[in-house]
Symmetry: C2
Subunit: 483 residues, 2 copies
């Protein structure tokens, strides 16, 4: 489990925070927030909030009372206890890209298939830099929409032994996720799944996602209440205006979870970038999104909540220099802000439309570097290595110094993907750029993948569940692989 013990980088003054605080209070009380699920509205009405149709006008202090019931930190357990993680505090948890319909493999861009989904779960299982494969790491377009979630959850459970994200399409899908989790991680006292509930921003929570959310809340499974904010489209073209909208949406959603089940685990979510006002397209890895990320961390801590933000976001069409600098332009602030739960940490390409095999490896390298970088520097007398200076003196070199010989194996970060070969050697070795090397790495990783052990009984019970539910949902039987 990675703990980021370096300081947080904070750019909001107390005065700025107080202005933002006034802003969200005004939005929830004067403009209100829509909840498209009658059950949700009823919970607010019963708790004394003013309701007009689907719109709820919230007393900000009531919202904060509910928010205060949510845990500040919680464990997220895996079927392999060694892979359990902690959400909150100085902990940072990383998951794969979530949601793309397309795959990029080298120069080929195509529809995602179940085989790709399985490949990405295997890659996420193979790299310790990721704590979870995530959930919909790519949409398997070759599986029927109604029962696709069963195949995905089964693959997440059997090809990996890390925690995972559940289906949020409907209450029924959420119940399937929970039932399958009860089979694989029975008898748990902490959540074993963490699921993404997006706001239909601005200021509207969708009925299908809310119904899934309520299921997870009741079961004590974790949810991430996430305003979905592309400034200029779903929020105003102003970072502060977007931050107060994000507070209004996230806090109202979190308040709802605590009405459903006080004390259930929930994360303050953020997905905040901006529209390219010239092309009209979403834009990622932008300066504005980095600023928003830093502020979001500060805001979540202000309310004592763990938060989700960041990732290897970018708008690039290929795994080129743009993909890399945009990804790091988000990922480095992710560490500076200390995001507790980081979706899209590996594989995101083309504004999230594509799960890219090569980008996955680039992102793993970036994560490895940043986890190495964001470690406290131990400055002790011993670390000053005066003996080495004494040995080498002026004008010599340290390559053969005793201190170097003791420490050379683990003194510095060792890259996975990056090359420091000199030009001649690099040319002789084929002159492969970072994408070509990344391609070699993911193929080799899949070749060497080893499935984590799972009991035959557990696996068979899961298989039976998937087979039965697929037919109940009206889809043709498909043999469930005996992973």
């Amino acid at each position: 489990m990675y703990v980021n013990a370096l300081p947080r980088y904070e750019i909001l003054s107390d005065e700025a925070m107080s202005v933002l605080d006034g802003g969200w209070r005004r939005i929830v009380s004067e403009l209100g927030v829509e909840f498209m699920l009658p059950e949700s509205v009823e919970l607010f009405r019963a708790a004394g909030q003013k309701v007009e149709g689907e719109k709820v006008f919230l007393d900000p202090d009531f919202v904060l009372e509910q928010v205060a019931k949510a845990p500040r930190e919680f464990d997220l357990v895996a079927r392999n206890p060694e892979k359990s993680v902690h959400i909150g505090g100085q902990h940072m948890v990383f998951g794969g890209v979530y949601g793309p319909p397309f795959v990029r493999e080298g120069d080929v861009r195509r529809d995602g298939k179940m085989a790709d989904f399985e490949n990405f779960v295997k890659l996420a299982q193979s790299f310790p830099e990721l704590d979870t494969p995530g959930g919909t790491i790519v949409e398997p377009e070759d599986r029927p929409l109604d029962s696709r979630h069963l195949d995905m959850v089964y693959a997440l459970q059997t090809l990996s032994d890390k925690p995972y994200m559940g289906s949020v399409i409907s209450a029924e899908n959420a119940r399937d996720t929970i039932a399958m989790t009860d089979i694989a991680v029975g008898g748990r006292t902490s959540p074993a799944t963490i699921s993404l509930i997006n706001c239909n921003s601005p200021l509207r929570w969708d009925d299908r996602m809310l119904s899934a959310c309520h299921e997870y809340n009741r079961a004590g499974e974790a949810v991430v209440m996430t305003p979905f904010l592309l400034m200029g489209a779903m929020s105003p073209v102003s970072v502060p205006a977007t931050l107060v909208q994000q507070m209004a949406e996230a806090l109202s959603g979190i308040a709802l979870t605590q009405l459903v089940n006080p004390g259930c685990p929930v994360v303050f979510g953020s997905f905040l970038s901006n529209t390219d006002m010239k092309s009209g397209s979403p834009s990622f890895g932008t300066p504005e999104s980095a600023i928003g990320l830093l502020c979001t961390g500060q805001i979540a801590r202000h309310f004592g909540l763990p938060f989700r933000s960041g990732g290897g976001l970018n708008s690039s069409q290929t795994v080129d220099a743009q993909a890399a600098y945009e990804a790091l332009m988000t990922m480095l602030p992710t560490f500076l802000a200390g995001a507790n739960f980081v979706m899209h940490a590996a594989g995101w390409l083309e504004g999230g439309l594509v799960s890219s095999y090569e980008k996955f490896i680039v992102d793993i390298e970036i994560l490895r570097m940043l986890k190495h970088e964001f470690q406290p520097l131990e400055v002790t007398e011993e670390s000053l290595a005066f003996d080495a200076h004494q040995e080498v003196g002026s004008g010599g070199h340290f390559l053969g110094a005793a201190h170097t010989l003791i420490h050379f194996r683990d003194c510095f970060y060792r890259p996975l993907l990056s090359s420091t070969e000199n030009f001649d050697r690099w040319s002789k070795n084929g002159g492969k750029d970072a994408v070509a090397r990344a391609s070699d790495i993911w193929r080799k990783t899949l070749d060497e993948y080893e499935q984590p052990p799972i009991g035959d009984d557990v696996r068979d019970t899961l298989r039976d569940y998937v087979a039965r539910r697929r037919i109940e949902l009206g889809d043709e039987p498909i043999p469930t692989p005996a992973f």
Copy 2:
């Protein structure tokens, strides 16, 4: 002039700083520092320091007394006063790559030529993100070594009207730089050049560079006293041990400048990365170098000195994803640390062996983004745009909101290089990746380059100087272009 008014990111505790403080004191007093120029040693001896041959054992308090005479901040003037900059405080000044013998243009890697040098100066002049072309932006291998500096300084002076860096090969070269600067920027009361004096680390200052340094000090021109530290080769394999070595070297060098000419402008320099202990090659854009950079900023402020560090450093052989993430892995900490003078801010490739045209454009984009990002966020009632939220309400969109229509032109960063085109449009437009687009941009920039005005008399005087000195230095006459 760019001012970075965001907070500095500091990771050293007071206790850590105190341990480091003890470390450099011990090095300068117990191990001493070598100064290979007799004149320098004599200055220390006359000031009461213990000398053994070329080695000077320094009283740390004496060092700090000298250091305290250096200005905390100073102006660096350009022949066009609008291009003058300020070194120190919250100011950050950026220059092009410095020193590569090779050029990369697309897929071609070749020796650098005078025509390349001129091209890079034109590019540096064209982009406001750079405050100075730097100095040896590429080595023009087609010019004789003895008189090459004349051609370079002449090109810097005539193809650009920004400040520039002088030659440091010898005292004679420094005198040429100063004489030519007197012609181009006569009557100045602040330095118009800033020159790089590297330490021959560990703990040795080289005679040729020192003799150039003394010339610049006496003329009141600025110097950057820079330990050259690739951990594992020129310093121990420990960041704290390297930091104290850097303090010992930089502070002893700065003390010398103040003995030569008390109050002369000087910058605390840092060039700190590590050896790849597997390949033995220098490695850039590493986690260790980022940590070193953050610490260096804190250390320089501790001594009240402006500091040089950072840049778009990387080890990559091509302008690929590695080149981009390594460059940003250094450049983002450069902003977090608030480096006052940033060499290698555009064009650096392949561990500094190559000046790359395409990487130059990638770096300009990175600089533009970071300068946009590192601006204080104004959080006011007005910035909350409550009217926009009132207008759009729940579930709508902000694309046509009045607030958006007023602000859409300048609300967000607008990219130079990055593309947000959707896949279909991007494919139709040729499917160009970042390198291909960067190639278009630098070529177009050179096509549209306009030379800054210079008086005929000044230019002719410079030409005459170059022609005369070239013959004095024993080289064949070459027509100096009438830029």
